[in-house]
Amino acid sequence: MKRKIAYMGLFLALALICSYVESLIPIHFGIPGVKLGLTNIVVVLSLYCIGAKEAFTISTVRILLVGFLFGNVFSMVYSFAGALLSFITMYLLKKTKWLKCISISTAGGIAHNIGQLIVAAIVVETYSIFYYIPVLLIAGTITGIVIGVVSQELILRIGKNVRF
């Protein structure tokens, strides 16, 4: 149990660093919501190496901390919606045991974008922003695959060492 908490702290710290690094990348694609999603590596990693409940806790606490450190309450709600939908999707897909990490991460990336878009549509009460769905779908697929490949390699290489 103690070791598990230590690992959760470690993963949380990693997730924070990833969020920070991502906020430093000054690339804007001209479309809101398109970003790499580095933190998803940590979420996928903890989902595989620690467990679902723990991964969810890490993801939630990460959003709270990042919100207070670099963002505002608003960006917190926004990322939470994405993270929640993404997490549920990845958890359910992982449970079926049909798919490997790459597909799960891809589905997570897409779900993240869709979750954020839904919240954005509710907040501004306009459905025309669903115009961005195709771009966000493609962006989510590409980043999801990249993140999936990285996560898969990490799980294969260090996954066995995470024991508690």
């Binding site: 001209g30 809101p32 798919l99 490997k100 501004v124 306009t126 025309s128 922003i129 779908l137 294969l156």
Partner: protein, 125 residues
Amino acid sequence: MNKRFTKNDFIFLIGIFIVAVAIFVAFRFWGRIDGSQIVITIDGTKHGTYSLSENREIPIETEDGNNLLVIKDGIAKMIKADCPDQLCVHQKGISLEKETIVCLPHKVVITVESGNFNKIDAVAN
């Protein structure tokens, strides 16, 4: 197959790819119409309609903060926003029907509309 990639993943990813491209293509063919006016919505209520054909600056004042929208050469672009994330300022200018600029913190939405520019509506707003 192996521990990284299986046949299931292949089918899944190809499926997602096809769906994404199909939606992308559908939206492209359906939405490539030049718009003639923009509608500004603040917190779900219509704030005003402006023609894209005349160059002008439109200051937008909301309870949550202020934005500055500029229409130039038929393209509407957000120039200034006093919000921390500046996402709407980094967004590309919009000119095609249904294209949208969103400033989430201020709940401002700018959408391009096309076709019959209704003068009566514009005046009423």
